[in-house]
Subunit: 302 residues, 2 copies
Amino acid sequence: MKLTILGCHSATPRAYHNPTAQVLEMKGHMFLIDCGEGAQIQLRRNKVKFSRIKHIFISHLHGDHFFGLVGLISTFRLLGREAELHVYGPKGIKEAITLQLKLGNSWTNFPLLFHELESDQAETIFEDKTLSVTTIPLNHRVYTNGFLFQEKEGERKLNIEAAVKAKIDHSYFSKLKQGFDVKNMKGDTIENAQVTFPPDPPKSYAFCSDTLYYPAIVPQITNSTVLYHEATFLQSHEELCEKTKHSTAAQAGLIAKAAQVGTLILGHYSGRYADLNDFKEEAQQHFDTVELAEDGKVFHFD
Amino acid sequence: MKLTILGCHSATPRAYHNPTAQVLEMKGHMFLIDCGEGAQIQLRRNKVKFSRIKHIFISHLHGDHFFGLVGLISTFRLLGREAELHVYGPKGIKEAITLQLKLGNSWTNFPLLFHELESDQAETIFEDKTLSVTTIPLNHRVYTNGFLFQEKEGERKLNIEAAVKAKIDHSYFSKLKQGFDVKNMKGDTIENAQVTFPPDPPKSYAFCSDTLYYPAIVPQITNSTVLYHEATFLQSHEELCEKTKHSTAAQAGLIAKAAQVGTLILGHYSGRYADLNDFKEEAQQHFDTVELAEDGKVFHFD
């Protein structure tokens, strides 16, 4: 599981700070989460292969989270993309994108599939054999979802040495990985656990931005490997949270603590602060393992 | 007259190259011409004061010329802008922008006034005491206008030394600048030309992008001080011009020559070429005074 921060600043792009966009690599997928203006430039600078992006998740329709989407889709078109692209986001996103493509007489050659969201309940919006993606309804000024990316339990791992010693023919190895007991070449039944290791524990990534402090999300994100939680303000501006429906770093720490996540990553910083370390310190009043998102930073969680 | 190139590359933003956007400073105005994705970031990097931009001209609705507009307008809103903003562009631009602002529940607090264009004839779309802006109908894949910015003849310049020597009271100086003869303190009539210099010759700037080689524009832009003309291709790819409705550098040189402009600036380069000097050389086969646009480059024409 690898997370690349393309942008993690709030409100507007600045000369050298980008609005929200990030790429999550999980089980061979490359998910783009939010797509603020300039996301495609950041993808290029961070050498993310455009063709590997097949699913884009948009949390809400504020500009700093989606104004880069139409440009990215247009660029896919100009690059001759043929593969399907799936876009998940609030109702209205399809009209906003298609209108602009239509005005430029630039409809895509590749299938562009919108999955518009309007439920206020968590719902699984993508699933395959290896993972699922579920919405996390958040509390913001407009309809907003976070997203929970959850790996499924994988196959057991073969203990090759033990399997050879137990004289199991290698044609049975895939059965072993699937957890079955098998017979060896002598006809004896070999218990699976004797020749395999348990699978890696499934990892999960909860993306929660933008939102007011909202403990209602805790049950859904409990035990997540990683939680990205917005931290627009420091405590000194806590009074702005209610009006703007944003959180402080300390509140992000409280959510991480209550949900017992592995690591908390902070982002969506307001531009009014000079030192990001203040965010980390305030979150750490409640939760120890805190990381700061920064544009271009890559996190590996193996 | 000062021109700041924010971006001058075609098709898509790249890691370190920006799509079309430029700022023309003329007679105290700060005109933004086209607004590709990232234009607001380039404005910040080039230290252009956002509040001085009151008029934005959009040539056509391809993404590399207008996908940065909605983000810039949103940023104006977040910065608390109160002044009117006028946007001139093809029919449809209003719907594209307002739909996105509506979806984000982010309508502007300042008056946002759209002037939608659909005529295929040149028309004056802005005018005040000092200058006028006229469309230049171009020949591209979608409805496209260039823009001709023309200063009006200014006031005559006072020859202070001569005026004092001629014993003219300074209360008459503004009359002199307006071209009138006046009486001196002795009651003698003083001819205007004896105590004033002619005004600076009016300057003009013709922005022509994107377009197929289109000599029909020559009469309108003849004698322009500066012509910015797209040069997407070199001669080696001339066969792509008809299909894409773009020009070569040599064709831009031919237009500059026919229109007898002062300076030709090339831009809108395709990303397939390594050395921009090839564009200059090819244009100079037909016209001498050629400049290359580059992101962040500033041209002064005084």
